[in-house]
Amino acid sequence: MRRTPSTVKAVGCALAAFAGAFAPCHALAQEFRPTQPVQLVVHTGPGGGSDVLARALALMVERERLLPVRIQVLNKPGGAGAVAAAYLAEKKGDQHTLGLFTGVWLTTPLMSVEARITLRDLTPVARLVLEPALIAVRADSPYKSLAEFVAAARNNPGQLKQAGGSITSRDNVVRQQLQKNAEARWTFISFPGGGERIAALLGGHVQMMVIEPEEAGEHIRAGSMRVLAQVSETRLPRFPGVPTLKEAGFDVPVVPQVRGVVAPPEIPGPNVEYWESLFRRLTRTASWRKYVEDNQFQDGFQSAAEVARFYDELTDRMREILKDAGVNIVR
């Protein structure tokens, strides 16, 4: 609840930067250990997806005693991730600040001139989880398979509706890929909140949505929702009978929904290694595995070098998909 008074924080940061600038790098290689609480920056307000993950992560790191200091979550909401990215960029060289990135950190700079900081400008540390998704219809829907839905859309262009998030969300990316693959067309209606999307589907106002497994599970069990396919490379353990996109006959590359960790620019290599190894150890703990399983995420750990490569590939792919979706690409 309490933030460190900003002056104290500023002095602390200045000292840290000072120490960082003057300490010989080789000594740091063996000796870097955080000496003050680590700020973990998230781009949502309290309660958002990244915020909840960050707070759970901080708690697990503390419980497993992986870090000599505490992790504090710092909310920098605004600009669809751009404010948090800009904040990290300003913290150049700060050894006690990290950020939790998601896909919007990648897409926002592609389409907003104002958002000048890309993940490339920051220091990648690790990728943590992949979030698979399901394609769901209402239980009484006439479409028993994704192929049937797509065929119906092809026969009635624009008549069927899908509820989703913003135009740059994964929901729309999946739609764009399927439409291109099958030469069909249906309408995409944006709702800002996940709750509103589910309400629109259950109320019969739209015919289909892309939904997180955790959100869908209970509606399936209660018999109000049916799943047609899963947006994932492999079948999820809790949905063994549901085909992946590829198995359902749509050979489109799965664009993963990711969450991972970045550091500010100009962080020395040994520090990156320190953080990378911390998160590698975290993802091997039992409590992390349970968290990933409970939320039906997939373990998506990648090292710093892999994240950089992954980022470049994903950026190119997203640029193409968003261009197809009619989004004005500025970078």
Binding site: M1, L74, A80, S190, G203, A222
Partner: protein, 502 residues
């Protein structure tokens, strides 16, 4: 029968000493969070979430819910005393609440806020207990066209919020609607009116505008007036510090109105408590016999919105607990909390975990009693704040506003915005533009635009969808009636003048 046995087992759980303690902790924290402008229930609950991992889930949900509805009680305090909305839902309370305080009736205003909160809060829980499942189904019938109609109905209230000049009220509302369009457009991902500012990509938080226009604007205008050292009269004696029988009588309808409007709006996942309190205030004014006195400090102008935002809590828990659908930031984080504790909120939550549901319901009855017992005795204490000389009070309001805004976003940019809107509020006061329509336009603007565009996507561009769906047609009909109210009263005035003997 099921209800009775459920409730009994619920009370058995909620009355366990440890759960009573968590309930008390929750409502105390909630009241505090409500009083502090800026810091709201979603942020508080998110920050306390890690602490609940080691708690019994029943105790934890009882405490977190206590924060949620407790904050609605506390929110009115600074609205009435300082004209600084303590919570977004308490913006409407400023309109008449602070005017009452300026008349020396801060005590009765605070008292009626607590009483209305208690009545409506309890009615909200009753609704949650009795009609949750069928109502949740009804809520699903609401989609974009209905939301558009509901918000159009809300926006039509602008004619009721107008002061002397309808034109100025409409211009203020337009300004609010314009501010609401700022930021990244959801549908096209285009930036609108961001002036190249990174911070504006996500739009302007309405609480910044509300605090700036209401609180800072008021302080600036009053400073100019060079009032005497004691800004506001505070009568001596406890009796004058609590609502009189007449006040309660005047608020009779407001209690019912607030309870019912708040609950129904709460059930809809796409509306929210600020809209609930605006609608309830508008309705109260529309049917009032002393309509022209609204805005100058009438007691039912506090009772209606304060009631509405409290019974909204019970309503908002309906889709959360029966369908697992959160309709607001606070219910979204409660959902996250349930998942973290290992529950699966959804259609089967209540049947499979009846103890949790009934324990929560019972604790909310208890919590509301605790809040009334907590808040009423505090009224005379809080009212003393106004004894502060203006050279202390005004800097306090400035400080409280700045800190409040900073705790929401932690952004210096928002502080600059706050000052800009403070100046705007000052200018509007000088030029006699009413502030409430601006806030109304801002609150409704984004949702209304979104709902209209969603509706048109559903109907492939045909506006007929708004009139052909029954709920939306009825709501639009109400909106038209409200728009005609000023016309009726003018015709009535002509008629009376014509009837006057010579």
């Amino acid at each position: 029968m099921e209800v009775v046995s459920g409730l009994l087992s619920g009370f058995a759980l909620a009355l366990e000493p440890v759960n009573l303690l968590w309930c008390l902790v929750g409502v105390l924290l909630g009241t505090l969070v409500g009083i502090l402008p800026g810091l709201g229930p979603p942020a508080t609950i998110a920050m306390l979430l890690p602490l609940t991992f080691n708690m019994n889930p029943a105790g934890a949900i009882i405490m977190l819910a206590g924060i949620y509805y407790g904050a609605k009680y506390g929110g009115s305090t600074t609205s009435i005393l300082l004209n600084v909305p303590g919570e977004s839902a308490s913006v409407v309370t400023c309109i008449d609440g602070h005017q009452l305080a300026r008349k020396g009736r801060a005590g009765p205003a605070l008292g009626i806020a607590a009483i209305a909160s208690f009545i409506a809060g309890t009615v909200g829980v009753l609704g949650l207990m009795l009609v949750a499942p069928p109502l949740a189904k009804l809520a699903l019938a609401f989609s974009s066209p209905e939301y558009f109609a509901l918000m159009a109905f809300g926006l039509s209230m602008v004619v009721l919020l107008a002061g002397r000049s309808m034109l100025k009220a409409l211009l203020a509302a337009l300004l609010g609607l314009w501010i609401a369009t700022m930021g990244t457009d959801l549908f096209s991902a285009t930036s609108r009116f961001t002036f190249g500012q990174l911070e504006l990509l996500s739009g302007i938080d309405f609480i910044v505008v509300a605090i700036g226009v209401f609180a800072l604007g008021e302080v600036l205008a009053n400073m100019e007036a060079r009032e005497e050292a004691h800004a506001l009269p505070v009568p001596k004696g406890v009796r004058k510090l609590l609502p009189s029988l007449q006040d309660l009588k005047d608020s009779r309808f407001a209690f019912v109105n607030g309870s019912v409007v708040g609950f129904f709006v709460g059930v809809l996942p796409g509306a929210g408590s600020t809209i609930a309190s605006f609608l309830s205030y508008g309705l109260e004014k529309a049917v009032s016999r002393r309509r022209e006195q609204f805005g100058s400090g009438v007691i039912e102008g506090v009772a209606a919105p304060e009631g509405a935002n409290n019974s909204e809590t019970g309503g908002a828990l309906v889709p959360l607990l029966t369908l697992g659908i959160p309709g607001s930031a606070t219910t979204a984080i409660l959902l996250a909390a349930l998942v973290l504790w290992g529950f699966k909120p959804g259609p089967l939550f209540i049947p499979e975990h009846p103890a949790m549901f009934w324990g929560l319901v019972a604790s909310m009855y208890i919590g509301n009693v605790m809040l009334l017992a907590l808040n009423l005795p505090l009224v005379p204490v809080f009212a003393q704040v106004l004894r502060l000389p203006v050279y202390v009070l005004y800097p306090v309001i400035f400080g409280v506003s700045m800190v409040g805004v900073y705790t929401v976003s932690g952004s210096m940019f928002d502080l600059t915005l706050l000052l800009v809107f403070g100046l705007l509020g000052y200018l509007m006061r000088k030029l006699d533009y009413p502030a409430a329509p601006l806030i109304l336009g801002l609150v409704l603007g984004a949702g209304m635009e979104r709902a209209l565009r969603q509706s048109l996507m559903m109907s492939e561009g045909s506006l007929a969808i708004l009139a052909s769906r029954p709920i939306s047609a009825v709501l639009l009909g109400f909106a038209i009636v409200i728009l005609l109210v000023p016309l009726f009263s003018r015709i009535n005035a002509w008629r009376l003048r014509a009837l006057e003997p010579r």
